[in-house]
């Protein structure tokens, strides 16, 4: 039988009582519903055993398990090395640019576009960064 009625319909006309019968069994000292057991199908163990074997076969070996954190550590160290080198290189480049103080060179060396204005009156060169 399928559940067809709404709860309101059940409340309006409650079904014949039988709940206490169920409760009696559920509240027995040795709850036989809770402890109910049944013989499983014969093929179940074979299926479980196969699943376990395939998991073991797919599972990486102990060497890989040991290697994994080592590789992760090596990757982290490499990343840090590259990051530090890049920062140091940039600082070096900036220092070089500053030391030369040539706006034309600065404009050529940096990625940021610059407008170079030559103030002929003062004989100075002004470098203006183009806003992005």
């Amino acid at each position: 039988m399928e559940w067809k009625n709404t709860l309101a319909e059940y409340q309006a006309a409650p079904p014949p009582n039988a709940w206490n019968e169920i409760e009696k069994i559920l509240h027995q000292e040795e709850n036989s519903v809770y402890h109910h057991s049944a013989i499983p199908p014969n093929e179940s163990w074979e299926a479980i055993s196969t699943k376990l074997s395939s998991r073991e076969n797919n599972h990486p070996s102990r060497t890989i398990n040991w290697l994994r954190p080592a590789l992760r550590y090596a990757a982290m160290v490499s990343f840090l090395a590259v990051a530090i080198t890049t920062v140091v290189n940039n600082s070096f480049r900036n220092a070089l640019i500053e030391s030369i103080q040539g706006p034309g060179i600065k404009a050529a060396l940096t990625d940021t576009p610059y407008i170079i204005n030559i103030d002929s009156g003062k004989n100075k060169i002004q470098v203006k960064q183009i806003p992005r």
């Binding site: 409650p14 169920i22 559920l26 809770y34 109910h36 179940s44």
Partner: protein, 184 residues
């Protein structure tokens, strides 16, 4: 099932942790009937029960190292099987096809002088309950979880758990009523 001599739980667990297939089989033989009983209560049919049994045992063996020998091993296994059953029906999206807004309260009535029900009858009736009702009924009435715990386990509200339980009760009452009318 051949099980003349079964080692105790401690030895079985030790053996299984070492990956000994003989011990794994012995552990299965010891607990499979009880766990299959749980699977049958939560499953809609034999095929589902079989799937839950297999998945549950695989989880037991895979997670055995996480078992802390502080509580009952059977209780630990039981929780794994109950959770596996809940997951099984969650995957199939069959748990919550119910209107959450309807509130319950179906009152208990006087006991009727009807034929005595056997545990087997109740288990059969439980297995016929719609999926959502069956899970909540099993968790609350049979396993003894509170509605609050059920709400957390099933990711539903406490009110939904209560209303599904009430509906399960009403459904069972009607089924038993019909059964007794047929007998009369």
């Amino acid at each position: 099932m051949p099980s003349n001599h079964l080692p105790n739980d401690h030895d079985l667990i030790e053996g299984c942790l070492l990956g000994n297939p003989v011990m794994q089989k012995k552990l299965y033989e010891k607990y499979a009937p009880k766990m299959y009983g749980i699977c049958l209560r939560y499953a809609a049919n034999g095929e589902d029960a079989k799937d839950i049994l297999q998945d549950g045992f695989v989880k037991v063996f895979v997670n055995l190292s996480k078992y802390l020998a502080t509580g009952s091993f059977e209780g630990w296994m039981r929780r794994i099987f109950v959770n596996t059953a809940i997951e099984h029906y969650r995957k199939k999206n069959q748990l919550y096809a119910i209107n959450e807004n309807q509130e319950e309260n179906i009152p208990n009535q006087e006991i009727s002088a009807l034929d005595e029900l056997a545990a087997e009858d109740i288990i059969k009736l439980i297995s016929e309950l719609p999926n959502g009702y069956r899970t909540v009924f099993n968790l609350f009435a049979v396993e003894g979880y509170s509605h609050k715990e059920i709400a957390t386990m099933m990711n539903i509200s406490e009110g939904t758990s209560k209303s599904q339980y009430a509906r399960a009760k009403a459904w069972l009452q009607e089924k038993i009523g019909n059964r007794n009318q047929d007998k009369a």
